[in-house]
Amino acid sequence: MKKRDHQESCSSSYGGGGGGGSSSNGKAAKTCWEDEQDPSGGMDELLAVLGYKVRSSDMADVALKLEQLEMVIGHEDGVSLSQLQNDTVHYNPSDLSAWVQTMLSEINTPLRDPVQSLNGGLDFSDLPDRVSSELTQTHLGFSDDSQYDLSAIPGMAAYPAPPTPPPPPQLQLAAAPNKRMKTSIGASDTNLNVTSSSSSSSSSSAVGGAPESTRPVVLVDSQEVGVRLVHTLLACAEAIQQENLKLAEVLVKHVGMLAMSQAGAMSKVATCFAEALARRIYKIYPQASLDTTSYNDILQMHFYESCPYLKFAHFTANQAILEAFTSASRVHVIDFSLKQGMQWPALMQALALRPGGPPTFRLTGIGPPQPDNTDALQQVGWKLAQLAETIGVKFEFRGYLASDLSDLEPSMLDLRPPEMEAVAVNSIFELHRLLARPGQIDKVLSSIKAMKPKIVTMVEQEANHNGPVFLDRFTEALHYYSSLFDSLEGSGPTVADHDLMMSEFYLGRQICNVVACEGPDRFERHENLAQWRSRMSSSGFAPVHLGSNAFKQASMLLALFAGGDGYRVEENNGCLMLGWHTRPLIATSAWQLAPAVVAAGAH
């Protein structure tokens, strides 16, 4: 078989799932490679091998019709899909002769060449002689009739299983990696884990009435598709940046299709980003409501279970707090996002085993109001109190409802003077939300200073998703979330499927916010460690170095996770960063009031 270029390999690759088969074939051929179509007027060789007789010159028409079909199938509200199901004719695969008869009666274009020259190993020897002779006279070519019946397409490649099924033809296309690519790929994306293992796509051309006995026919090297996926995503973002929404629309649909043909992390990332881009194009913004915050808490719990990022955040922050509290007899922790309180059992246990006995532990938890007015904070506080009683730590809890951190007033918190109790402020993935509205972050930082904390621990995502230019944000987010999804994938079989799925939802919502929303609605305004450092320093905080204990504990924790080889703990000027392979993903830092501020406050 003559090896064609990229175009042919793409045009013969089939999307995953039942419906996407031939449609991706034609669409791909049409939209991206129009200028590269083979000028020969002869039969397309590769398709001929599969049983289709399509003139290369007819490809454009075929592709157009398939694109129409694909738009119908892929329509979002699904109404047209059911319509399609009603209109599609399904054939009983076990009754080959009847199927052939109906095909014969429906097809009305002139007979083309007989089918005998099908190479590729299709074996008709097991079929009854009567049927095979009929088949050889059948027109099995591709009709350009606009009312073409989808079920006629499968041709002979999708024949039902005879009593002893012959082996399916295995065509290995696109084996060589050095295909001529349409667009030149610039810098290689080292951060993207493009799956290089070839993934076999689903059954060939299984559209509509394809029997379940079709077997995979085509193997496609998916590495190219992965790179193309990234490139299409970036092209779409660029189109949006240039306000070219028509082009963006086309590209985003293409991304959706390409993503279906991929497997693994890359496909999921691409799907999330494609959805976010679509939302931005069509201006369908996700509604933020109270329900979403509690739903987000649930998703975060699954994220907690499935990967070590949150655990790392909790353990390193706890270690910093513990070291700050070594001699205090009364301690007070203010948690900016209590959620389920998963951070505090470990701290309480460490305090219980502290030399000299446990201090009195006061916890103030801040959380958003719940949609059905249940006091979620109190429930968490009650559970923590139970635990504290079990391990013998004196415990007090206070919960404050605040939909926005900037609503918080230090006077509301019943703080006692620093001689009596040591205060710690803890914020895990919360401070970046304040960057959505101007002035909020400064207000909160000054509130924190007014609380006179001994230590402020914060954990934030290590990425700059808050730049002014959309395209830069998009590119950065693509790399960041690709690494994140990669690490989720790397955790492999030890993580329960539903945890993995929910974690992916959780991250998908973040992606949606970063890409699709603007203004005060965009609250996932991540900034990297350098930016936070300068902000904290200019607000009057001095950095506290996280000690070697935190590093050791974090390293041990990561060793427990499958895929622990991929996770890396790095120390960066006293801050700890957790990353996947070479890419740091979250950063823990600790701060205290700068001496000048303390002196000023004492006056």
Binding site: Y295, I298, A346, A496, M502, M556
Partner: protein, 153 residues
Amino acid sequence: MTRDKEEKRRSVLFINDHADILLEILKRLDGRSLCTAACVCRLWRALATADSVWEHLCLRRIVSPPPSSPGSSVRPVVSALGGYRRLYMLCVRHLLTRLDRDPGGRWRTSSAWDELQLSLSLFCVDYYERLGGRFGDTAATSSLMFLCKPVNV
């Protein structure tokens, strides 16, 4: 003749008569062997499932507890959270196998006490998670929410 037989019978050591020796032997076993031993007979089960044996197993690698944290304060905490046997099963066991998997690894700088501390923290988190289930009954978007999973070590 019968006197010879009696003498023979007396000189054979029947371990179950000497529970203290048995205990000393059990204390030196590893976790898996200890569980196997617990299946032998009722006496062995009583001895092998006693928390003191498991405490010995967990603390065995710690040459001397650091003076800052006397061993006596650890025991009540661990007992309250579910006991040393549970601690071993849930946390220590996995920690030991996973850290052993990586012999020259970066975590070797940690001491056995640090490892125990980490186990204790995870154990505590597990206890907390098992307290009264998840609270998130409000937005019951998924029935999977209410599964109380132990810590996935």
